[in-house]
Symmetry: C2
Subunit: 380 residues, 2 copies
């Protein structure tokens, strides 16, 4: 049958997969709960199988619970957190829409780049990396720019800062503006009340506070955001992430859209089940308790934390690299000699901080003890 | 810590995941090889871990092998096949570009919808569902429309027809046009020679001929396509799928872009390893041998195949629903009573055919025997 001779130049002769066992204390992924890996390992069914459609309903309901929202359109996007991020902008931004973005870290900048690609008139409000915006600062920027959408990063993974959101939803309603919030590093680990806070669009990922492998990403939109989507004068510039189409697959119509990453949905369902079993408020408290234990321990070995205490994230901590030390070399040593991953600084903070995540299944005192013991050795 | 009372209305109290064991003989997903599921179950490492970067290189090389291409930019997109499909158009289409699309099934229509969203001037050439285009027909359409891109579906999953591609690349070069090919249902199971055929852009999925769970999807582009990307006057309208950014993560620069679906890459690497071990030409022959066994058996129980023999796919067969029978009810019965999934017809063929896949790990005589035995019972 082959009519043309086969080119074997790219053919590799490999052994079965062997990967090192790492303790993942970087900005994500974090290690998944063993029960989650086990669920993922289940033989797949089809994406239109009645048992799979029922599982999708469970995912939707549990995502609403962990986000504290009643939004009907609350789903998992078939991609990583960045795909869900893109989905929020792709669905509501039309060319010429004013979008105001709070930039105090890498992910604020990513929102700027993305929104621009969808034709938004982007304005920014800026802060040094590691700080947050006050409600007054946001109010002043809203009055100046009068955007259609305000986008903020709840948990800035590049800085470890938590942006307070109380009052921002009311502000947006005053100005007839949608509120879009990045909850990638907060969902499951940091208190979130989407409906109470008046958030209209949010996205997250699976591999941080939810303790699941990456690849299927939470997305939600409010009735106000849905209205803007339905009133668009042009189609969403992204077929894969078009919520009018996806809503028909996740909703009661069950119209085929794409083949879902079945096994990742298995994993996500199990991760969400475990989180509901624990209780989301208990998970928030666990993350806070363990991160405070981390902070004490880091300070006790002479390290300095980058963010002011009241705005620090319970999921991700930025630690200043001591003067004269090579942060990147130390992180490599932790990885190679101790099988512990921590993150290096990004952007403005490159070389200046490490990023230590304590998220989902990894938010345990043992993770802290293991890291501190290794840190003591490599900082000698 | 929780300052607002928790809304438990969406909290479900679930048991651990339990899914039925299905034999997946629909249009995909197909069952994954047990070794692939096992690899996927490996504890994740980070997406910038040196061991993970090495694994990405292996995936790239093996994808080039199964596609028979030397394209440097050959990667796995972090999403399902539809995301990789979107990536081909998003990267090379600029507003006003003429795109000629061969439509003889559902996926041709999807290309039309997608390309339009990126601002293409879309023209189509059409055939009844189940037929293919001759080179002369394509030549005539090229002369009329003189497009920048010609898009064809190599293996139309909605009809079971295989579009011959010999000579199409030369035709495209004559007209200074890029050739874009959907290989979702062909990669790994149907002979493909991307470089020999002069294909400039191709995409596929993991859950069909490669025998891997869905969620990480092959994408490749030639130097000619890369040139068009580099000469764009505007940014790619899709940050997640921008190959200038993704190329820096998959290439030697290793610049962070997004968190890859780590465990799916493990699975994909194992699926590709097994395919290389078998030899891609042996896999093509196995698919052909088993599908011929399927065809004989289907005909022996009185069923009629929809596509003319020489254009039938070895991966997916469309079977006419006998007069007076309810195709959907029969497929449901196969699923519920025999745990066998087959697909129903889509679009023009809805209600008229079933779609039977024999792909990847499932392309075995036992799959055929199991299906035929069940078919005999339900058709009584």
């Amino acid at each position: 049958m082959p009519t043309i001779s086969i080119n074997n130049s790219q053919k590799l002769n490999l052994s079965p997969l062997k990967m090192p066992e790492r303790l993942l204390l970087g900005p994500g992924p974090s290690n998944a709960h063993p029960a989650v890996l086990q669920a993922m390992n289940t033989t797949p069914v089809g994406h239109l199988d009645p048992t799979f459609l029922a599982l999708m309903d469970e995912i939707q309901s549990l995502l609403r619970y962990v986000w504290q929202t009643e939004n009907p359109l609350t789903i998992a996007v078939s991609g990583t957190g960045t795909a869900a991020m893109e989905a929020t902008l792709a669905n509501v931004v039309e060319a010429g829409d004013g979008v105001l973005i709070g930039v105090s870290g890498y992910f604020g900048n990513r929102l700027v780049d993305m929104a621009g690609r969808y034709g938004a008139e982007v304005k920014t409000i800026n802060k040094p990396w590691g700080e947050v915006f006050s409600l007054d600062e946001l109010r002043a920027a809203m009055a100046t720019h009068r955007p259609r959408i305000l986008a903020l990063v709840h948990a800035e993974t590049s800085t470890g800062a938590r942006q307070p959101l109380e009052g921002v939803g009311e502000l947006c309603r005053e100005y007839g503006c949608l509120l879009l919030v990045d909850t990638v590093t907060s969902l499951g680990g940091v208190p979130i009340y989407l409906d109470e806070w008046g958030v209209d669009l949010a996205y997250s990922c699976s591999q941080k506070g939810l303790g699941c492998p990456p690849g299927a990403s939470p997305f939600t939109m409010s009735a106000r955001a849905m209205e803007k989507l339905q009133q668009r004068s042009s189609k969403v510039k992204n077929w894969y992430l078009d919520m009018l189409l996806l809503g028909k697959y996740w909703g009661s119509e069950r119209v085929y859209h794409h083949t879902a990453p079945i096994n990742l949905y298995y994993a996500l369902r199990e991760a969400l089940r475990l989180l509901a079993e624990e209780g989301v408020e208990n998970s928030w408290q666990r993350h806070q308790r363990n991160v405070e234990y981390l902070w004490e321990n880091l300070e006790s070995i002479g390290l300095t934390l980058h963010v002011e205490k009241q705005y620090r994230l319970p999921t991700l901590t930025t630690v200043r690299v001591p003067e004269g030390k090579d942060g990147k070399a130390i992180a490599s040593k932790l990885l190679q000699d101790y099988n512990i991953e921590i993150g290096n600084g990004l952007g403005e903070l490159a070389g200046k901080v490490w990023r230590v995540g304590l998220m989902g299944y990894n938010s345990r005192p043992e993770s802290v003890d293991q890291l501190i013991a290794a840190f003591k050795e490599v900082l000698k």
